[in-house]
């Protein structure tokens, strides 16, 4: 079941600090500094409340190092295992990169507001992502592929710095085979690349979708998201149908620690997926 953006769990959940052990089942190197880690819950199969909706994240705990908020990049229909696609950036993600299959970590969550897919059943879906921003949208793509009839046209615009930085490139063909349009661009040309060179906002104009009624899901660097929104507006997208996955320093995941605020939004609670209409007044202000 997909939880809608405006339907948060109704009942108080006391277990937000509860940490469950999960074991690394598989590690797949995606690019030079990004890997996908597949985990299985160590103490038993699927636990109550451990299933996730596309766009949600876990707080991944490596004792001795700390926690990192990591979006879930795997198929939401499978909850006995889950995956995180992670770039080595900080203390925790570097420590994660040193682990091997069989090692365990702690998991809290899932937390956050998912992509509001159920609200757009029957509509076209546009996905725009840059770099690692494809990771939190991959569960959406799994859902679209699994329930292809539920949605209208689906168009994916994806870009990375170089062809070697493209995530999940071996899956593009299967997405296309399932009637998803996949437009891919790179910032810099490279030997053997015969696709477009440019930025993701530049692809929006080429996509086959009815932007006036489509859901537009965007995740990438903030600057990329801002320009993509402008391009979507050029194609008459509605601001209430545009959703961004934002990033701040989520710490508790429950809206209790105040650290991931952007204006009125407590991002771990009201996001990471936020409606453009809500966040727009606070998006272009330096230092907010």
């Amino acid at each position: 079941m997909i939880v809608s953006a405006d339907a948060r769990p109704a009942l108080p959940q006391p277990g937000g600090w509860r940490c469950e052990a999960a074991r690394i089942e598989q590690i797949r190197q995606e690019t030079s500094d990004v890997s996908t880690y597949e985990f299985a819950w160590r103490d038993g199969a699927k636990e109550e409340g451990r299933s996730f909706a596309p766009g949600q994240f876990h707080m991944v705990y490596l004792p001795g190092y700390g926690e990192a908020a990591l979006s879930i990049s795997s198929n939401p229909a499978k909850s006995e295992t889950f995956a995180h696609t992670v770039r080595r950036l900080g203390n925790v993600t570097h420590a994660l990169a040193r682990l091997s299959v069989g090692d365990s970590v702690g998991i809290r969550g899932p937390f956050g507001t998912p992509w509001p897919l159920d609200r757009f059943a029957g509509h076209d879906i546009v996905i725009a992502s840059g770099g690692l921003g494809l990771a939190p949208l991959r569960p959406v793509i799994y859902e679209l592929v699994s329930n292809r009839d539920r949605y209208g046209r689906v168009a994916i615009a994806y870009g990375a710095r170089t062809p070697n930085d493209l995530l999940f490139a071996d899956e593009f063909q299967s997405w296309r085979d399932n009637d998803l349009e996949v437009a891919v661009t790179v910032d810099m040309d490279a030997l053997g690349w015969d696709g477009p060179v440019g930025v993701v906002p530049g692809l929006i104009d080429t996509l086959d979708a009815d932007f006036e009624t489509a859901a537009v899901f965007i995740c990438g660097p903030e600057i990329m998201m801002r320009y993509t929104v402008q391009e979507a507006f050029q194609r008459s997208a509605k601001s209430q149908n545009i959703f961004l996955a934002m990033e701040r320093n989520m710490s508790c995941g429950m809206g209790l620690c105040g650290r991931c605020q952007i204006g009125p939004v407590l991002l771990c609670r009201d996001g990471p997926v936020v409606c453009y209409e809500t966040i727009a007044p606070f998006l272009n202000l330096e230092d907010l």
Partner: protein, 384 residues
């Protein structure tokens, strides 16, 4: 004086000396009793077993960046107002373990169950602090996720509140509809009179606490006299006819405040206040509603035993908004703006109510005397 049957809603009269028997009774009932005492020259909450530990006869003088205690021979028990501590220090302690991790052959094992704690009885809590408690309740208990440790402490909490009979120059609870009279949220509500206390019994727990204390029911006149204490104080706060030499009555105009602040995120006053602000975070530490926290990782030398400790954090630090790409709020202007707009505007978006109770602590304990009521007025002045 005889002890009569008690029900909630009763007003009873006790001798001042009988306050001790309430404290002793609370200790007997298993509470850890805390109340105002003098610590390092300020009124602060501490463990209380003897009412003589209360700052009897003490009066506080507070102004922006100024706090002094004055000793008088009045013999009054509660004529100081609020010091740097609040109930936050007990319900949301400055440092608290949230999870431990121990490595075994099987990998890591985690334990995040909250520690059992002795229930707390707080004596001498003021109206503004009860309002702040309600605001923190909304943060920690009102959402999808509940902070279990806070919930446990909150459930066990006993509150003997006191109606203020004076205000200091930094008080503006009347602007925030948070005082000075205690309306709800306490078990017992005490009003200090010249030679006795009047207690309003608000809960069954309050009845239980009074069970061994000599008391008698108040007459109508006694009730009216007690109620007049808060009424006349509130009147003196609203008009500038203070009975004490208060230089300037503070007031925060709340009309349209949310939209005013959010429409003025680039107002020049943010830079002007940043010229004075030290970004020390004192205001957030003494604020009874500020709830920001961070979690520290603590590990032993073997690396096989670690735990996570939640500590108060402040939006005035660079670390508070630090991401891998850098600190989002890099300037003092941005941090002050975050604090003030959160407290007075976006708190409403997040939790449905304003995050300020008008206790004035942030004004008093600011080392450079920045006054949020003056900052709001300055923003209102040049508002767009």
């Amino acid at each position: 004086m005889v002890s009569q049957e008690l029900t909630t809603g009763d007003f009873v009269r006790i001798d001042k000396a009988s306050l001790q028997s309430i404290v002793s009774r609370l200790v007997e009932l298993g509470y850890r009793v805390v109340g105002p005492t003098i610590v390092d020259g300020a009124v602060a909450f501490a463990e209380l077993s003897d009412v003589q530990q209360l700052p009897i006869g003490v009066v506080d003088e507070q102004e922006a960046g100024h706090y002094r205690l004055r000793h008088t021979d009045s013999g009054s028990f509660f004529d100081y107002v609020v010091g740097p501590h609040s109930l936050k220090n007990y319900l949301f302690p400055a440092c608290q373990a949230v999870c431990s991790a121990v490595r075994s052959d099987d990998g890591w094992n985690f334990d995040a169950s909250p520690l059992a704690a002795q229930p707390i009885a707080a004596i001498g809590v003021r109206a503004c602090d009860l309002r702040a408690l309600a605001i923190q309740d909304r943060v920690f208990l009102g959402g999808s996720f509940v902070d279990a440790a806070y919930q446990t402490r909150r459930k066990g909490l006993f509150l003997l509140a006191v109606n203020c009979r004076r205000a200091t120059a930094t008080c503006f609870c009347h602007s925030m509809a948070a005082g000075p009279a205690v309306v709800e949220g306490a078990d017992l509500v005490l009003t200090e009179m010249d030679d006795h206390f009047v207690l309003r019994v608000d809960t069954a727990k309050g009845c239980e606490a009074l069970a061994t204390t000599l008391h008698r029911h108040c007459s109508k006149d006694e009730i009216a006299a007690a109620q007049a204490v808060s009424e006349s104080l509130e009147e003196s706060m609203r008009v500038d006819s203070g009975k004490e030499p208060i230089k300037q009555r503070r007031h925060l105009e709340t009309e349209g405040l949310h939209d005013l602040l959010l429409a003025n995120l680039t107002h020049p006053e943010w830079d002007a206040v940043a010229e004075r602000c030290l970004a020390c975070g004192n205001c957030t530490m003494v604020c009874p509603t500020c709830f920001c926290s961070s979690v520290d990782e603590i590990s032993d030398l073997t690396g096989d035993d670690a735990h996570r400790e939640r500590r108060w954090d402040s939006c005035f630090t660079g670390e508070h908004s630090r991401m891998h790409s850098g600190t989002v709020r890099a300037t003092t202007a941005a941090r002050y703006r975050q604090w003030l707009t959160h407290k007075l505007a976006t708190w409403i978006d997040q939790f449905g109510e304003v995050g300020c109770v008008g206790c004035g602590r942030c004004i008093t304990w600011c080392p450079v005397g920045i006054d949020l009521t003056a900052e709001v007025a300055a923003i209102r002045e040049g508002a767009s």
